[in-house]
Symmetry: C2
Subunit: 227 residues, 2 copies
Amino acid sequence: MTVSPSASRDMASSRIFETLKQDLIRGRFAAGEKLAISALKDHYRVGLSPLREALNRLAAYGLLEQVNQRGFRVPAMRLEELDDIAGLRTQLECMALTQAFQAGDPEWESQLLAAHHRLRRADEHPDRVEEWEQAHLRFHRALLASCGSHWLLRFIEQLHDQFDRYRRLAPPNPAVREVLDRQHGELVELALSRDIAAARALLDDHIRLSHGVARGCCQPAPPDSAV
Amino acid sequence: MTVSPSASRDMASSRIFETLKQDLIRGRFAAGEKLAISALKDHYRVGLSPLREALNRLAAYGLLEQVNQRGFRVPAMRLEELDDIAGLRTQLECMALTQAFQAGDPEWESQLLAAHHRLRRADEHPDRVEEWEQAHLRFHRALLASCGSHWLLRFIEQLHDQFDRYRRLAPPNPAVREVLDRQHGELVELALSRDIAAARALLDDHIRLSHGVARGCCQPAPPDSAV
DNA sequence: TGAATATAAAAAATCGATTTTCTTGAGATG
DNA sequence: CATCTCAAGAAAATCGATTTTTTATATTCA
């Protein structure tokens, strides 16, 4: 987030922040679960201070909730919130897309092509999920990177993380996945030809499809009487 | 036993977070300044741990920057960033306004009227700046409160805080201020009559005017050769 | 002289221990 | 039998001290 890029010499709090962030997005904790701080401390082999600093950052980022004197919990997952996230993501990304197409230069085009190539390579290895996830995130980043608004990109990134938390919990849908993969290539084409209207429509559809899949993460809440 | 209003029940880290947040927005620290942690500790009379947790939250929120092993600094103020913030604020607030008008119910109308009344009362006391600032923030919150998107409101709040950091540093402009105050009342009228198009135009203008005033915060950087 | 290096002082980050607050459940009360 | 009280245990929050890293200053060497 705000920590400077140098990777290896990172502070313990930044390392544990990144690790926890990924684990939260990957769904390694149950929604609504209360985090036992000393258990985390043992599991991740970090001290209390860096751990607590990371938890505080995650709470400010929206991947954790902090309750007054009773620690941190994983936010509940509600269909209503997923819809909110997806809807807003659509609007913000379409906004950024327009600006990115208008301001995009050859360097942006190159980076986009490169990111797309990496994503296609990752498509070929269905077993290496984390590599694909990273390539996918970077592709969407590259698509909007030239939009010129630091704050817009920041919010989009945050929404993307929130969205993925839901999507990753949903059962995979190979048929839709195939369409989504194809759309990435089409987005690149439209980017190169600067076809804003078509690209917006496609991106809207892309997110809508992905949203539909992600909705599978919440089964309808059973009435209280059920076992 | 007299339980003082929840505030004292808060954790030290939350109290110092709020205090620091306000002081940052009010411009009590110079832009670009490096924060000396132990000085803050003495000044605010808090321990190191709660202080560091608050600083971490503020960095995640965007009111501080954290540099790898060299602590926290106040973000620089750049005209370019103010323009980004104002532009995005306009787009997000207009988006929220539309949804708020569509979903607004009588309770929302009441709260908006109440917030506006408090703001007008605060207008009458030009000496009590902080009261006005709070009433103003709450008015704008009330205007959009019924929009139904938790995440949109969250981002708008964040942008508002960023924007105010610039605006509060700029020299006051009584002429523009008078127009801005009048616009608050007009926004209420348009809210009650659900005139979305007119309200969007007015809100756009409202932010544009305020943006113009806020721009006075950065005097053009003198060339290096100057004394 | 000027670049490079060593070193002392300062600041940040982290650790281990202490204090505070919540939670649980046994026993008292109505 | 349900509710309330209170102490013991668990967990969170905070403190004080230590370790690590940076910064400033002085010194050496070409």
